[in-house]
């Protein structure tokens, strides 16, 4: 990966993650990685290519296909002095790790009266439209957001991915880090100088006056695209990326809604009983007296993700559907 020091340097999302990991592994010998095909193969998405060559098989461990087992191993390793970064290839496989994450990792610190800690990061993916069908396309981050004791990170750019991952690795709590698998090849500016991004600080991606678009991970690009279209239609949209869902920067979100008086929450997880309901409620409560229209929620359609391309494409919010919803909300449709 290119290490030339120019702050205008561009890296792909995958390269940014790899660089963040590499920097932390150089800094702290306790940081190690394990998961399926993470070593020589560098994962099927090639996110970790080169790390085993630099850090050796002692710190980059290929595991059997045992998500529950090696996630549990991560919890124990984290409690006793390592700082494991566990790789779960597809977010759909979180189903297999829930006991270790929820009944173990999330509760160890509290149940032990604050004596044991679990400084573990679990990296996994989300996102549809890859033609991978129902068991390889889900965005299940709402589940872990629901559970006290876990932190949840949702980067939307190479810059954020690197800065948030370094923060996650140094955090003393279990952190679930979601990467949009469709974003790995996207490029963005990533300075060579070291930097970190704190949790719980949303980013205003674009300022606006008429409507607030709160978008996460894969949906941030969609929201920015919709904002451009809206500008053309004379609607000024403010786009906010919470970047971490827990902790959640309610203040920035609510203040924006107070200013614009209209809001849409866009998240690639299922629309019901998940992230959009939470953020919409935070807005509806925090900006109640300012809102001129109900908060609109846009998530994945309430169906298992279909394989057939023309069907799959309509299960996820797009620039166009967000644009249409925003115009309607602003009474300009």
């Amino acid at each position: 990966m290119p290490e030339t020091a120019t702050s205008q340097r561009e890296l792909t999302f995958a390269q940014a993650i790899r660089e963040g990991l590499a920097e932390e592994m150089r800094r702290d010998p306790r940081v190690c990685i394990f998961g399926e095909d993470v070593a020589e193969a560098g994962t099927p998405f090639k996110v970790l290519s080169g790390l085993v060559e630099e850090f050796g098989a002692e710190r980059v461990l290929d595991t059997p296909i045992s998500e529950q087992g090696f996630t549990g191993m991560g919890v124990g390793a984290a409690m006793t002095g390592l700082r494991p970064v566990v790789d779960i290839m597809f977010g759909d496989f979180l189903t297999l790790t829930m006991d270790q994450l929820v009944n173990q990792a999330a509760k160890v610190h509290y149940m032990s009266g604050g004596t044991w800690k679990v400084p573990m990061v679990l990296r996994t993916t989300l996102g549809a439209t890859r033609r991978s069908a129902a068991q390889h396309s889900q965005s299940l981050h709402a589940w872990v957001c629901h559970v006290p004791g876990l932190k949840v990170v949702m980067p939307s750019t190479p810059y954020d991915a690197k800065g948030l991952l370094k923060t996650a690795i140094r955090d003393d709590n279990p952190v679930i880090f979601f990467e949009d698998k469709m974003m790995y090849r996207q490029k963005g500016v990533v300075p060579a100088e070291e930097y970190m991004i704190p949790f719980g600080v949303a980013e205003v991606k674009r300022e606006g006056e008429d409507i607030t678009l709160v978008a996460t991970s894969s949906m941030v690009e969609v929201a920015l695209g919709a904002a451009k279209l809206l500008a053309g239609a004379g609607i000024s949209a403010e786009v906010i990326d919470p970047r971490t869902l827990w902790p959640l920067d309610e203040k920035t979100i609510v203040n924006s809604a107070k200013k614009t008086s209209r809001a849409i929450v866009i998240d690639e997880g299922y629309g019901r009983f998940g992230v959009t309901g939470e953020i919409a409620s935070v807005i509806a409560e925090g900006a109640f007296f300012n809102m001129e229209a109900p908060v609109k929620r846009m998530g994945a359609m309430h169906v298992p993700i279909p394989f057939s391309p023309p069907l799959e494409d309509i299960t996820v919010p797009t620039e166009q559907t967000v644009f249409d919803a925003a115009r309607k909300l602003c009474g300009k449709a």
Partner: protein, 332 residues
């Protein structure tokens, strides 16, 4: 990990008709998969697919020991199982292209083909994900006394999934008519199975009370004979079994896995293809046994080529499901 035992003994000759049918079925699987690769390289297929080329003898040898009403569960590498159990290539190709004429109306794709008419409970994209389903189907067969047997196909990578041992234990306790078929093609994606599998595979079956047997997965007659022993035993109510089939995938983990030198050598691939090809070896055996002459085998291959060509054309021409279908069949 110590090399797994394999029943070395060559199997007795099988009836000519069955032998020919098994040969044809293997050829159908191979040529089907060649078309799939073609569709991928021509960018006509959405997503990826995991080809069964090289492993044909396993699916065919086992499914020929099953009745149409018997159940199978399959994997991400499932085209061979589907065909061997009786699925039609045209509807399979249609599914791979996401067309309405597909077995799942295009909603499932390559990794989720299911077909009640042939007892196919479905391919599964979760490694080890179908082991519970196969076991449950066996529970139904026993409870309702339907005389059916259930076969659970899985790659050796699924040996890493704890649920496999949970259901093996359940099957043994309830004496269920299920045969767990481990297709050890040596690799889980890009890692050799010895790096992910400690101890001994067959002993894992024994430890949970299963009848176990290992067989050369490139010898369709050996696979078939072993399958018959274990399937009939299960049908007689004598309980579940684990059948280990040692085999090899000729091509990549999926159609996009082209450069493989970093995890296995070209020479290894060559040796399996030239010395242990299940179709080539079965063909030579048929000729040796005077069951068929080269021309007859040529004829079979020609017929199958035409069948696959027509099936692909059907699928390419077939329409996509209409958008309204997107939220249909979420609930029964």
């Amino acid at each position: 990990m110590k090399a797994v035992e394999v029943s070395a003994k060559r199997e007795a000759a099988v009836p000519a008709e069955l032998a020919i049918r098994m040969y044809r079925q293997m050829v159908r699987i191979r040529l089907f998969e060649e078309q799939v690769n073609e569709l991928y390289t021509r960018a006509l297929m959405p997503g990826l697919a995991h080809l069964y080329i090289g492993e044909e003898a396993v699916a065919v040898g086992i499914c020929e020991a099953l009745k149409n009403t018997d159940y199978i569960t399959s994997t991400h590498r499932g085209h061979g199982h589907c065909l061997a159990k009786g699925a039609m290539p045209d509807r399979m190709f249609a599914e791979l292209l996401g067309k309405e004429a597909g077995y799942c109306r295009g909603k499932g794709g390559s990794m989720h083909i299911a077909d009640p008419a042939t007892g196919n409970l479905g391919a599964n994209a979760i490694v080890g994900g179908s082991t519970g389903i196969a076991t449950g189907a066996a529970l139904t067969a026993k409870r309702l006394k339907t005389d059916q047997v259930s076969v659970c196909f899985f790659g050796e990578g699924a040996l890493g999934q704890g649920v496999l041992y949970e259901v093996m234990n359940l099957a043994a306790l309830f004496k269920l008519p299920v045969v767990y078929v481990c297709e050890n093609n040596l690799y889980t994606e890009y890692t050799h199975f010895t790096e992910t599998t400690a101890g001994d595979i067959l002993t894992r079956g024994t430890a949970f009370g299963l009848q176990v047997e290992g067989v050369d997965g490139q010898d369709v007659r050996a696979v078939h004979a072993a399958a018959q022993r274990l399937v009939n035993r299960a049908r007689r109510g004598e309980g579940p079994a684990l059948l280990l089939c040692n085999t090899y995938r000729y091509t990549g983990h999926h159609v996009g896995d082209i450069n493989r030198e970093y995890y296995r050598s070209k020479q290894e691939e060559q040796e399996w293809k030239t010395k242990r090809d299940p179709i080539k070896n079965m063909g030579e055996w048929l000729i040796l046994q005077k069951i068929a002459d080269p021309a007859a085998l040529q004829k079979i291959e020609g017929e199958v080529r035409d069948e696959m060509k027509a099936a692909v054309e059907f699928a390419i021409a077939a329409p996509y499901p209409s958008p309204e279908e997107v939220d249909q069949d979420v609930y029964a």
